[in-house]
Symmetry: C2
Subunit: 425 residues, 2 copies
């Protein structure tokens, strides 16, 4: 889709996007689309998912069910199908693509990214970006052998899972059995295949939100927001900041690695390339062919309309993605340094509420509450983004603001967010 025109939504000439998965990132994609008069359809597995609340139309059901998804696609005939999550019927996406539907960025990338073995092979082999050492295993015996070969400490991860589920840090041989069981128990979908990854004690973990988009001549080029630094707790994003503290040389190596990985995946749209840096060297880890959790910091650091979700919409619809030249790279600079910090539920239950908002919503704080109908322990219910002249100050401000917030559900009294591992304040 090469876009130079847009017509009113809810008409036959409208540009229409359909999201498969409409959580907090989907909501922001939909808001950015709405602000351009693009028609939006949100599909999710539960009623009143964040993006469903904002979209023109919503559908609820199991996205693994090819019949359910196909019926919607055939009814809506969207100009772009945007997978936001990984629990989608992949065979259907390949079929739809063959039939001429525009899957973002394409079925191959969506298929590759949903499984650690496939994305690792794209990064290491197709893109030629260095990764930590890795081996695969299908049984406890194979796992024990693989761990020995990689060396301790190492990581054991289910090849299909997300948000850190099924991942274990293995310090020595005695942890292997527990890691095996954790992986089997938490894998998404069938299969007890797992990956063993060498543990590199990285200096910083970054996400490069590379955007593949059409230039004025209809050629696909790549542009680069400044790298986002982040840390995870138990494999799940906890805080991110922009720009990441890397040298100019490393910054360019990050762009180079992201360009290789995203070219190997193809299509247009924004990608979240997870990379890590050790002793000035950039390693590939994973890559999501869509906006990334850690990129929510751009909801406030970037100019209005150019958050990672705004960039995704612009790229998907063939609209321009302006940038400035920095040597050979097209860079999208932030307006101001900033940091994000998640708001995680400490309890389960319906009708979640947040309190102490007066304390949390202070100077330089942008608050996003996702409006999810149900909380689970450690479910992400919102995010705080703080701006500051220095990224270090932004991190502290975001952390402090997020931790003021207490959460309750109809089944639970008010509880603070207790996670303080890796925090600064």
């Amino acid at each position: 889709m090469k876009g130079n025109e847009l017509f009113s939504p809810l008409t036959k000439k409208a540009t229409k996007i359909l999201l498969l998965g409409a959580g907090e990132l989907g909501r922001e994609v939909i808001i950015e689309a709405m602000r351009l008069g693009i028609e939006t359809v949100a599909v999710d597995r539960y009623l009143n998912a964040p993006g469903q609340q904002v979209a023109h139309r919503a559908y609820t059901g199991n996205m693994k069910d090819a019949g359910f998804v196909r019926a919607i696609i055939e009814r809506e005939k969207p100009d772009a199908i945007i997978p936001e999550i990984e629990a989608i019927n992949l065979d259907l996406l390949f079929e739809l693509e063959k039939e001429g539907f525009n899957v973002i960025p394409n079925a191959f990338a969506t298929h590759a990214a949903m499984q650690r073995e496939r994305i690792r092979d794209v990064i290491a082999k197709k893109a030629g970006v260095p990764t930590s050492k890795y081996l695969y295993a299908n049984t406890l015996e194979e796992l024990e052998e693989a761990c020995e070969k990689i060396g301790y400490p190492c990581w054991v991860k289910a090849i299909m899972s997300s948000s850190g589920h099924g991942s274990s840090f293995v310090e020595s041989k005695k942890d292997v059995k527990k890691a095996y069981e954790n992986s089997v128990r938490n894998a998404r979908g069938a299969g007890d295949r797992m990956i063993v990854e060498q543990h590199i004690p990285f200096d910083i973990e970054v996400t490069e939100l590379a955007v593949r988009h059409y230039d004025d001549n209809g050629k696909v080029i790549t542009s680069f927001p400044k790298p986002v630094g982040h840390y995870q707790i138990d494999g799940d994003y906890h805080s991110s900041w922009q720009p990441a503290e890397v040298s100019e040389k490393v910054e360019k190596d990050i762009y180079r690695a992201a360009e290789k990985i995203t070219s190997a995946l193809g299509g247009v749209g924004l990608f979240g390339c997870e990379l890590f840096v050790k002793d000035g060297k950039v390693y590939g880890n994973e890559c999501s062919p869509r906006p990334h959790d850690t990129g929510m910091v751009t909801l406030a650091t970037h100019q209005s309309g150019y958050s990672e979700c705004g960039l995704h919409v612009r790229a998907v619809c063939g609209l321009p993605v302006p940038s400035v030249k920095d040597g050979e790279f097209n860079v999208i600079p932030p307006l101001k340094p900033g940091a994000s910090h998640v708001i995680l539920s400490p309890c389960d239950g319906w009708v979640p509420g947040m309190r102490n908002l007066r304390k949390a919503m202070g100077n330089d704080i942008s608050l996003f509450i996702f409006g999810k109908p149900e909380a689970h322990i450690n479910r992400r219910m919102g995010v705080v983004v703080a701006l500051a002249d220095k990224v270090e100050d932004a991190k502290k401000k975001a952390e402090k603001a997020a931790h003021y917030i207490e959460i309750q559900t109809q089944q639970q009294k008010w509880l603070p967010q207790q996670e303080k591992r890796m925090h600064l304040t």
Copy 2:
């Protein structure tokens, strides 16, 4: 409503706002509310108004019809009723307020602002802010007499109208009859009463987007975004920029005047105080008790969540409005200077489209397309906001970007926007 807690939308404990009128400003109010998990209801006179496309629920009908509006209010029981336009049944708003509903900022201010005689009296008499000289007239004879007393040139305006309709610039006695006819023809509602205003050739016209909101002690205080400069063409907003080019002394006088006017109106929320400056002196003109067209520049100049619409939501829901102290004033500084420029339709018709978006959406440009189902000549279809280090550069960039865009409807071929009066480039 003093807010320190928010519960999930679409539940009994949700905070719910209802907008009477849901155009482009209403859409942004709803987006900001959505991002805080606040439940939203949009009422407008036509189907698929911009805000209706985003809100949780929408109703369409005549807002002058008390029965129609009351039925919705009684069904929805919103925590706040937010009038966005002036064509609303005012008697009903007074009744609802008596019954305990929370009208934003209150029925009195909404009533005063919809009519030039009432708002002029509030500004000049209740608030004690100087205005240009003015007189009222009901007949052609009275008008001729009033114009003589005020002196030429002067302005003749219908006391009830908006967007410049029914306003005439009167250079001499020979223009009075035409001005009379224009006023009578374009007045909204009954009545041929009109106001004659002295013409002061001001140095700059500004909007002060003063916010009245609760502080941490539950007291209503006022905070001030930097003044927005703007110009109008034929009485309708065409371009605005922030900050306005005024001295520090004048800036503070602007805050003082806006504080007096908004205190006289009362309630909480954001107000658009139209003021003008002549020889370092600040004059009151009008004041809307709601976000103002010219304030759309804050969609990009302010931090995410703090556009004029974000500030309105925060104030309405009793959430904090952070600011920095500048002497006696609470000031909300922009992230960066910026300017807005409207995109006006050059034609009538359904299914409006825009083209040349690739040219328009360049560096530093945030584009907002309102997604209205129908265009009329000079109807506002979108707005461009440009950021720059200097406000003068932002003005030129916004103007240039907006004028790249051509518009068509199903009845009309592509047409450029031709209005170039008062432009810089």
